[in-house]
Amino acid sequence: MERISLFEIIQEPKVGALGETHIALTKKDACKHFVLDWTKHASKQLSLVVESSVIVDILEIGSSSERNLDITLHDHSQVQWRAVNLVEGKDAHVFFRLDSSASLDYAFADFAKGTETIDMNVDLIGPSASLTCHMAAMSYESDQKSISVSVHHQAPDTYALVSSYGVAQGTGLLKFSGTSHIFHGAPKSKTHQNAKIMVFDPHSVGRANPILKIDENDVEASHSAAVGKVNDEHLFYLCSRGLTPHEAKRLITMGYLNPIIRYFNEKHVQKAIEKAIMGRI
């Protein structure tokens, strides 16, 4: 699949007061595949608008510098956003705003090294706006990794599903947090959050804090969190067939994080993610 660089589609990039690049995706960009590759661009600030009824998919490739994104999805637009960072983790602030009936299908594979704070906020401001968000992350050595996804349901009949899977290794910390907030005036909204962390080593720390705030009746909300070590019975079963504990853990971890791969369309991206996971267990 050929992808068009987001930074190339604008003839004269509009630069805002804060040095951010402004890009608008209009009808002529509909149904195209874009790539947002931070390693190939100097700007670390992006403001993106997807106009009404435009359907696009975007692959974001992370780099080793801090980044800020501000994205607006106008009514009835549909965005499939895939983010991957396999290099070095740096802080990111991501802000999505969804108008009525806009939908964002987001997946993030974060197997970057280093300490980082990823902060994502999604405002569902129009009725029937919807978000699905799948995260997979790993912390290594002494990394302190914190990923937070907060969703604000500000209109009726909005939907959000946030699901995060992670592995904490070494002496590192991996933290999933975020608040799903259904505002007063957003009845019939549905929000679900789940976070699961597998702790590998005696000194690794995993924290999962999914929070719900509900200010309206007639809504559906759930949250779940699990932090635990590799199941002893599973390890014994695999080892009893001749796999060393190391190999067994590798297979189990791969099986646990692998589902994120199927969200990515390109074979080479899938391979790169798989390699990053395997290389860091």
Partner: protein, 271 residues
């Protein structure tokens, strides 16, 4: 001829002694039926031989030929030629059956098996065990029926070709046809010289695999040893005769007392 020798084995689970001095020797070419009432240590013996971390050996020895099994890790025991078909095989989400089997096969080879060789092996074994080949691409045991899990255990046995196989109630959860399939697979391995230690409560499986001898485990010890005729006797009359003939009291499983007594919420006292 390979030999598995268990001597004076004492095993504890969470501080409670389950095995209280087991002596048992199994030779290759033998199929030993291990019988006994529930809770007397049959599964414990099998799990301890394989090295399950929950079972701690406090005394005694296990030797496979001249190798000290108790000094080996679980994977080393497997590579040395021991295999445990579990009573309740784990479901391991995300771990693809074929990937797992390939790693297991490769763990005992110098040179890894080629993909073509492996699929051929797997295809043959799947056909023999009447397991649909597509199941190789599913998560290990996840969503498998009880019978499929048990057949998958025997499929692994066929791929790994151990010297001694320990089968823990392999027949539970099997329907009549699957029992036949499993029985045939075991017979084929017997003819190739594999040794078996088989735990089952039912004569039906034993009828299919004709054990060479039978041992009865009572109160954490081997109480009776003898020919396969013991199986028939237990199947028809139970374990009571052991008490009469050998003077061994069969301990009943302790029924844990409930710490909460029956209470009532509203009591109206009448004078």
């Amino acid at each position: 001829m390979a030999k598995l020798v268990i001597h004076d084995l004492h095993v504890e689970v969470e501080g409670k002694e389950i095995l209280k001095g087991v002596d048992l020797t199994i030779e290759q070419n033998e199929t030993v039926a291990l019988l006994g009432p529930n809770g007397h240590g049959k599964s414990t013996l099998l799990a301890a031989i394989m090295g399950h971390p929950r079972y701690s050996v406090t005394k005694g020895s296990i030797f496979l030929n001249d190798q000290d099994v108790l000094k080996m890790s679980v994977d080393q025991r497997s590579k040395a030629g021991l295999f445990l078909a579990m009573q309740y095989p784990s479901e391991v989400p995300g771990v693809i059956n074929a990937d797992f089997l390939k790693s297991a096969v490769n763990s005992r080879r110098e040179k890894p098996v080629t993909l073509f060789q492996f699929y051929k092996m797997l295809d043959t074994a799947s056909k023999e065990m009447k397991i649909p080949f597509e199941m190789a691409n599913r998560s290990l045991n996840e969503g498998f029926s009880g019978g499929e899990k048990k057949r998958n255990e025997i499929l692994q046995l066929k791929l790994l070709k151990p010297t001694f196989a320990l089968l823990d109630e392999i027949d539970s959860g099997l329907d009549v046809d699957a029992m036949q399939t499993v029985g045939e697979a075991i017979r084929a391995e017997q003819q190739k010289g594999m040794g078996f230690l088989v735990v089952s409560h039912y004569a039906r499986l034993y009828d299919l695999i004709t054990p060479t001898r039978a041992v009865v485990m009572i109160n954490g010890k081997i109480a009776v040893q003898g020919g396969p005729e013991i199986i028939r006797r237990i199947d028809t009359t139970g374990y009571e005769w052991i008490k009469a003939e050998y003077g061994i009291d069969v301990e009943k499983e302790e029924a844990g007392m409930n710490t909460v007594s029956i209470g009532s919420c509203a009591v109206k006292e009448m004078k």
